[in-house]
């Protein structure tokens, strides 16, 4: 199954404690970053406990949360600044390339 730039959208989950504040802001920032990278993505905001059952392609959140997700998704990335789309874009490039989701 082809994903990423050439195929179906990546399933990206942004996490926080409640699932309706910080993670929502990170969702908006992530949507911008993925769009600028040209990688189709469906981004969903959720709380930490729900994220575990979703089996997404990418999990984004504060380091204190993503540490709980080691191995729960092909790409698990700790993000400290939830409003900086440029920084997120730079941090995503390497891991997305490794998965073959970005040329």
């Amino acid at each position: 199954m082809t994903k990423g730039r050439a195929g179906e959208p990546l399933h990206v989950v942004t996490v926080c404690g409640v699932g309706m504040g910080s993670s929502l802001i990170l969702r908006m920032t992530a949507e911008k970053a993925f769009a600028e990278l040209g990688v189709p993505a469906r981004v969903e905001a959720t709380d930490v406990s729900s994220a575990k059952s979703l089996r997404p392609d990418v999990i984004l959140g504060q380091g204190m949360h993503t540490s709980e997700f080691a191995g729960a998704a092909p790409v698990v990335l700790a993000v400290s600044n939830f409003v900086d789309a440029e920084a997120l874009k730079r941090e995503l490039e390497g891991p997305l390339r490794e998965q073959g989701w970005l040329e």
Binding site: C16, G17, M28, H65, S80, N81, F82, V83, D84, A85
Partner: protein, 146 residues
């Protein structure tokens, strides 16, 4: 209905719990949230960590709709002296933005507008504001039309 907005500058607090309390109190006074919402916001950080510090110097405390939220509201407290929330990268914090929403939908446009503003330097403009009137205008410009 436009969201309730409250902005204060020069807020003097000794620590992160008081910072959250200071940001939430105007929402209680306005009847936007019940008093128990303030404790729920503090408890959320105790249980899940200082993840609400979502960018350098900026915290966005909030809890769940069922923690006593009546309407949509946002209250900003710009602190005189930054406080530590215990975040490894984004401490210390001097802009605290508390919000409440009665469900998981009504605040989405408001947060989108705030996120856009924060990405474009709203926190620095708030830090430089000379009084609450000026700071309120800065936030109003960002959430206009929500």
């Amino acid at each position: 209905m436009s969201p309730h907005l409250h902005v204060r500058v020069g807020v003097d607090v000794p620590g992160w719990q008081e910072a959250i309390r200071a940001a939430c109190t105007p929402l209680v006074a306005a009847g936007v949230v019940e008093p128990r919402y303030v404790d729920a916001c503090i408890d959320m950080v105790r249980r899940h960590g200082p993840y609400v510090v979502l960018a350098p110097g900026i915290a966005l405390p909030h809890a769940r709709p069922e923690d006593g939220v009546v309407g949509v509201g946002v209250s900003v407290a710009v602190l005189s002296f930054p406080v530590e929330f215990g975040h490894p990268e984004n401490d210390p914090v001097d802009v605290v933005i508390a919000f409440g929403s009665p469900d998981s939908e009504q605040h989405i446009d408001l947060l989108a507008a705030l996120a856009g503003g924060l990405a474009e330097g709203l926190a620095d403009r708030l830090r430089a504001a000379s009084d609450a009137t000026e700071a309120t205008k800065l936030v109003q410009e960002v959430i206009e039309g929500v």
